[in-house]
């Protein structure tokens, strides 16, 4: 019984941290730019395919991290310039446009790789003993990487000059321009950072999930649930949403079934959209 509790606790922590890592890019773009990038899951999918290709080419798995960031970042540059910016970052228009973009990316990948699953070998094998329970090393590494990245981002956002300038741009774009912030450039960089990070998240999860063109659909739904519950535009909201949705999913999947877990997340999200549409910790 005790071992079950330990394993389940680590599983919950894993689900929460991985979901937070997956939501991060979406949260940055949605919370700071008001663009709900429906194609976010497809950028994660492209990151996973990049990892697959890097491994197939016999390169070290770590090489997939910069490769995915460059691939997804470059696509992000093109998307921002020719899709998001012409639509003036309008929330509804960009939502529709990125929905179409997601469709396009899925079909392009399907064209190149087919619909079949691709598997990526786990780059770090073996397990580590935690409180007497063996837990896969790679999962633990992912948890540590996610936690470090999230905390580093949190500190950077609150303390670094660029973090303050992003907050300034989001809160008051006219004044931000007046004090010399190039808001167009900063918005582009923020969008590209979101897509590049989605690619890196794709590399992280690729060995643990079947890599296929439609994998992004599930990811975007869970990420969206986390944003709805946590609230948009704050790091606290990102953590809270990921903790609630990731924790709920992990516990109910283990205790009841994946279907029940999904249903519970759906009901919770509907309740939040109905009663508290800005989530628990929205931007003031």
């Amino acid at each position: 019984m005790e071992s079950l509790v330990v394993t389940q606790a680590i599983n919950v922590a894993y689900e929460v941290l991985i979901l937070a890592a997956l939501v991060l890019g979406l949260a940055v773009v949605m919370g700071l730019l008001n663009v709900l990038n429906i194609a976010h899951g497809e950028f994660v999918m492209l990151g996973s395919y990049t990892a697959y290709l890097v491994q197939k080419a016999g390169l070290p798995y770590l090489a997939a991290v910069p490769a995915a960031a460059v691939v997804c970042g470059a696509i992000g540059v093109v998307v921002e310039r020719f899709l998001i910016r012409p639509l003036r970052y309008d929330p509804f228009e960009t939502l529709l446009a990125t929905w179409g973009l997601g469709l396009l990316l899925r079909k392009l990948v399907e064209l190149g790789f087919g619909r079949g699953y691709r598997s990526v070998d786990i780059p770090i094998s073996g397990s580590i003993n935690i409180f007497g329970e063996a837990y896969p090393t790679y999962r633990l590494v992912l948890m540590v990487v996610s936690a470090v990245v999230l905390v580093a981002l949190f500190v950077w956002y609150l303390r670094a000059p660029t973090g303050a300038r992003i907050r300034a741009m989001v809160g008051n774009p006219v004044l931000a321009e007046a004090v010399g912030i190039r808001t167009r450039q900063l918005a582009r960089n923020t969008f590209v950072a979101g897509t590049a990070w989605a690619g890196v998240a794709g590399v992280m999860i690729a060995p643990l999930t079947p890599v296929e063109p439609f994998m992004g659909l599930t990811l975007i739904v869970n990420s969206f649930f986390a944003l709805v519950v946590g609230g948009m535009g704050t790091v606290t909201g990102l953590f809270a949403g990921s903790a609630i949705i990731g924790g709920l999913q992990s516990v109910l999947t283990a205790a009841v079934s994946p279907t029940t877990a999904y249903l519970a997340m759906l009901v919770l999200s509907i309740l939040f959209l109905w009663q508290r549409p800005r989530g628990l910790f929205p931007r003031p």
């Binding site: 000059p161 907050r167 809160g171 006219v174 007046a178 004090v179 010399g180």
Partner: protein
Amino acid sequence: MTQALFEIDRLSGGYGSGLVVRDVSLAVGRGEAVCLLGRNGVGKSTLVKLACGVLRPAGGTVTIAGREITGRPPSDNLGAGLTYCPQERVVFDDLTVAENLTLMRDNRRLDAFDRFFEVFPRLSERRRQHAGTLSGGEKKLLSFVRGLAEGANMVVIDEPTEGVQFENVVRMADLIQSHKQAGMSFLVVEQNLTLVERVADRIVIMDHGDVVHSGAAADMARDEILSYLTV
């Protein structure tokens, strides 16, 4: 007027396709303060928004030190020597007072602001406070200090004294005067005659989107100015 630093030449524009400002020209010399007056809704704020790149002009030109900046984004203008303090939403509410002041600086040291904190100690007391929690008058003071501290040659300020206590209006006027002596130029949109009478070298009065009077401040009595400001 001394040699012109900032020139607006036959500037027209407004919101969407509607023209609010029509063929307005004015110039500000080096070390000079020009006060732009007029009743509410006559186009004063629109004119400075057009001049500072917040709105795209339909016609005309804007130059600073002989360099044309017409229609350029405001973020480019600071490099050209132009600072703009808007009338509304004058501070970054989500940032602290200190962050508002040091946002574009290489470090967060506040030493450079000591001379302003001596004049407005309230800002120093509240430097760790979010700017959104300040009163309307305090926000105006913060915006004013930010504008002066940026060190641009030309400062455009829209209604700086709205909600500001009388003694602080006088202090603002003293600061403008001392900065003028150091060579800084000002275009101030204002309704408060306390400030206007203390700083203005020239007065420009607008009505219905056009300039209806322009002249030396010394030549205009308070009653004459008031006659333009009342319906």
